[in-house]
């Protein structure tokens, strides 16, 4: 009975309805813009990169020539290592990839742990000025870009940085600690970098939770822990999963923070990709590595979604 145009059935009916609603000019502009974006910016470049990753590294003059054939050499390199490494595995690069993914998982988990209480407080308990103040304080650090935020951590964790000054001052340590080598700086910096990306999906999900549900559960004698476990967390699942997926993907794909805060033993996989492009001058291999990163990270997200029974459409809400 209510509004909304009756959607005519059938796949071929929609373009007509589409143009009827937007008219020829506007409808065509919408199609052109969307087509340009989805095809020329999103889909085809990814495919081009995938294609490129199966090509040998040739000088421009030879590209498209007889030697430009499909090859798995770059993927082989990632798994087996360079020539002479027969039977061996490329333990260095694979270890870097594994460590990058694990560290990104760790960052997502830590972010979830520290952001959940904040988001819950913000969505359910905070009101008026206090809530607005919290919101501002949350947002302000993210007006700075990743590099400046990483820079701040570098100042903080330096050998003569504030943290070491304090630790030395109270006598907790004898020598200045090397936070970079121990990756403390890197992990704190990454965790910090994505706090907002975790808080907002959680907040959006929790904001719609009816307070009376919590009160009802409390009224029936559930402990706070049980209320969260049985009522709040299931309700916030879409927010939790999109927050975690976003933080994980962005940490795994981070470049600036590891470059600035990374210790001597913690190369990030993106840094290897960067090397192949900039100094290694081997674009196809860089592309192959980028695809390896993309696919392995996506697979991890999809597996996690399957395990936690999250549907794709819940993400990005």
């Amino acid at each position: 009975m209510n509004s909304g145009p009756a959607t005519p059935p059938g796949t071929f009916a929609w373009p007509r309805a589409f143009f009827a609603r937007y008219g020829a000019g506007l409808g065509a502009s919408v199609l052109v813009l969307v087509g340009f974006w989805i095809l020329a910016l999103v889909l085809v470049p990814q495919l081009a990169m995938a294609d490129f990753s199966f090509r040998p590294n040739l000088p421009p003059t030879e590209q498209g020539g007889p030697r430009d054939v499909y090859t798995l050499e770059h993927y082989e390199y990632l798994v087996r290592g360079g020539a002479g490494g027969e039977g061996e595995y490329n333990t260095v690069d694979l270890a870097v990839l594994g460590r990058t993914l694990l560290a990104a998982l760790f960052v997502a988990a830590v972010d979830l742990a520290i952001c959940y209480p904040i988001a819950f407080l913000l969505a359910q308990s905070a009101h008026g000025g206090f809530a607005r103040l919290m919101m501002v304080l949350l947002v302000v650090p993210f007006w700075l870009n990743e590099i400046l935020r990483a820079f701040a951590f570098r100042i903080l964790f330096g050998t003569s940085g504030l943290v070491n000054d304090v630790l030395l001052g109270v006598g907790a340590v004898e020598e200045p600690m090397d936070f970079f080598r121990d990756n403390v700086a890197l992990y704190s910096g990454l965790t910090y970098a994505f706090v907002l990306l975790m808080v907002f999906p959680l907040y959006n999900a929790l904001e719609h939770l009816d307070k009376s549900q919590i009160e009802a559960a409390r009224d029936m004698g559930a402990s706070w822990l049980r209320v969260h476990w049985r009522v709040v967390i299931p309700f916030a699942k879409p927010g939790i999963s999109s927050g975690c997926a976003m933080v994980f993907m962005l940490s795994a794909g981070a470049l600036a923070t590891p470059q600035i805060l990374g210790g001597p033993s913690s190369l990030w996989f993106t840094q290897i990709i960067y090397q192949w492009f900039n100094t290694g001058n081997n674009w196809p291999r860089g592309s192959a590595y980028a695809i390896a990163l993309l696919i392995s990270a996506l697979v991890l997200v999809l597996v996690a979604m399957r395990v936690f029974k999250v549907r794709l459409r819940d993400l990005g809400k």
Partner: protein, 361 residues
């Protein structure tokens, strides 16, 4: 101003047959209402007239002109939406003059026309308000004025009063009717509220499951329904199922569990048919005089005081239940009808109709 003719109009959405073969003539300048329960297809029919839906079969003519293939913005119709769909970012006068704005009318002329229409809907001086500053009834009238601004031949109203509270709704019935009389435009109104339909309309078409069952003025519809559905949907009715045992020139005799009842028959009825006898609660008399044809004993189960009248719930032999209303002043001392009573109703006030589906509660 124009008459509207629906000629065998059907609308299908895939397997759903929303409107079935509707043929109706709406006279020029009439206040015409489609009345039916929700889901009966009346909104779809209205959208077909306004051009948002193409009929799968049949033709719609406005002022004699076939509307097939003509889009909503080119039809001489204007729609008042159920949720009004006022433009929240424009002040009242720009809302009203929107149809003129898109036709390239100059600002001064638009403002002038908007002020005229504000006069018409008894809201002079409200042009610079924003819509959210108005009351529900005022928004209602602004929506009507906006639709009238383009001087449409036909105004279509899609349950526009449903969002209002009861008192305001009843007040707005009178307002709408008055506006219609003043401008003389053909109004096609749809509603599920039979009180609204009866109070405002020149003609009412009752719809069920996509089809029009009866088109008539309000009194005919109430007193002489053609089908069990119309009898039970329009107004309150008591029903006695039975079988026709005799037919004479004026009355049918129907054998029911409450005995033989005399009622005005529908022309389709034949002796031996299953029939339903309908009688309105207000037609039922207590302790009727001897010349009342239909008399029966009953037990008062309960009675409820509703202010202007009493509603008395009665139980009859054979598990029949009957509701009767008595005007307050007439009721016995404090309306304490109780115990066993004799009730009756005149054959003129009862109708016998072929058995058929009733309106759900």
């Amino acid at each position: 101003m124009a008459a509207v003719d629906l000629d065998g109009v059907s609308v299908r959405f895939g397997p759903i047959h929303a409107v079935r073969d509707v043929s109706v003539h709406v006279a020029d300048g009439a206040f015409f209402t489609f009345l039916g329960p929700s889901g009966c297809g009346k909104t779809t029919l209205l959208r077909a007239v306004s051009g948002f839906v193409e009929p799968s079969a049949g033709a719609i003519r406005i002022g004699g002109q076939d509307m097939t293939g003509i889009g909503p913005h080119k039809r001489p119709t204007a729609l008042v939406f159920q949720n009004l769909a006022l433009f929240p970012l424009m002040p009242v006068w720009q809302n009203i003059a929107f149809a003129l704005e898109v036709r390239g009318v100059g600002r001064a002329a638009r403002r002038k026309r908007a002020d005229e229409l504000l006069e018409l809907i008894a809201m002079p001086g409200h042009g610079d308000r924003m819509c959210h500053e108005l009351s529900g009834g005022q928004r209602q009238r602004v929506a009507v004025a906006r639709a009238l601004a383009a001087k449409p031949a036909v105004l279509l109203l899609d349950e526009p009063l449903s969002a209002l509270d009861r008192n305001l709704r009843e007040h707005m019935r009178g307002e709408l009717r008055a506006i219609q009389r003043r401008v003389g435009v053909t109004f096609i109104y749809i509603t599920h509220d039979q009180g609204e339909a009866l109070a405002m309309s020149d003609q009412v078409a009752v719809m069920r499951q996509g089809a029009v069952l009866q088109v008539a003025d309000a009194r005919t519809l109430y007193d002489r329904p053609h089908s069990a559905f119309v009898a039970s949907f329009v107004g309150e009715n008591n029903v006695f199922p039975g079988t026709v045992t005799a037919l004479d020139s004026n009355y049918a005799t129907v054998a029911t569990k409450a005995g033989l009842l005399r009622a005005k028959p529908d022309e389709k009825l034949r002796v031996g048919d299953a029939a339903l006898v309908f009688v309105r609660p207000e037609a039922i008399r207590f302790a009727p005089s001897e010349d009342v044809e239909n008399r029966m004993a009953a037990t008062v189960a309960a009675s409820a005081f509703e202010g202007n009248l009493w509603r008395v719930f009665l139980e009859l032999a054979g598990d029949l239940r009957v509701t009767a209303t008595r005007v307050h002043a007439e009721a016995g001392s404090d309306g304490e009808d109780a115990g066993r009573v004799v009730i009756g109703f005149s054959a003129r006030r009862a109708v016998a109709l072929p058995e058929g589906p009733l309106a759900a509660e």
